[in-house]
């Protein structure tokens, strides 16, 4: 599978995760989001950017529990809960936000 972004063809796996993490850009994120039926807003970008920063620092995508706690600390308690995250990313922050943020596919879950 692949996606087209700005005239370039980028390889994705069958679930839509980028194969080469270095292909990621904001433009690419928007394109993945479109495929997921997620309309990116400021609030979405806050989470996506947070995930990218977290990944750069720790080399893993955080567990949802850890993500909500850390988001609450950074962006305020009204955003640090899974209800808020699921409203932004209906199929879950692990499945959708990580994909849009260009992180590796979470392997812990089936």
């Amino acid at each position: 599978m692949s996606i087209e972004v700005g005239g370039r063809t980028l390889e994705t796996d069958e679930e839509g995760y980028l194969v080469n993490l270095s292909d990621w850009s904001e433009e690419v994120a928007n394109e993945i989001a479109k495929a997921e039926n997620v309309a990116m807003t400021e609030n979405h970008w806050e989470v996506v950017n947070f995930l990218r920063e977290y990944y750069n620092e720790y080399q893993i995508a955080p567990a949802v529990r850890v993500l909500t706690k850390a988001i609450g600390k950074k962006l305020g308690p009204e955003k640090g809960n899974s209800k808020y995250l699921y409203e932004l990313f209906p199929y879950g922050p692990a499945k959708q936000a990580c994909k849009i943020a260009g992180l590796p596919k979470p392997t812990g879950c089936v």
């Binding site: 392997t107 812990g108 089936v110």
Partner: protein, 119 residues
């Protein structure tokens, strides 16, 4: 008593899988329960149905399948470790199932004893 077993090595390369199997059989013979056998690291290779050892040696994979069938033993292969090594549903031997690492932690919680077999 309820036992959980963790197997971290593949078949044939290391004795761990043999020792674990003999342990499981002995525990069952003594009336204990095997709550779960969890296959992790290269241990996931115990679950590939493509395995064909020479006929004059034990068939480690079939032996596990038979144990699962006879004793209703829950044989769980770690999905993450399996994906790393090309072990997926398509080449999974009978009696095994693929699931998350949480199944190992759960076995540690629910079993009275967890025994680790590895290298």
């Amino acid at each position: 008593m309820k036992f959980g077993l963790l197997i971290n090595e593949g078949p044939y390369n290391h004795q761990a899988a043999d020792t674990a199997y003999k342990f499981a059989r002995a525990a069952l013979a003594k009336g204990h329960e095997i709550r779960r056998v969890f296959f992790y690291n290269d241990g996931v290779n115990n679950a590939t149905r493509l395995t064909e050892p020479p006929q004059d040696d034990r068939h480690i994979v079939n032996r596990w399948s038979k144990l699962a069938e006879e004793g209703g033993i829950d044989l769980v292969v770690c999905v993450a470790a399996g994906l790393r090594r090309g072990l997926v549903e398509d080449n999974l031997a009978p009696g095994f199932r693929i699931s998350g690492l949480g199944q190992l932690v759960e076995a540690g919680i629910e079993a009275d004893r967890l025994v680790v077999f590895g290298d």
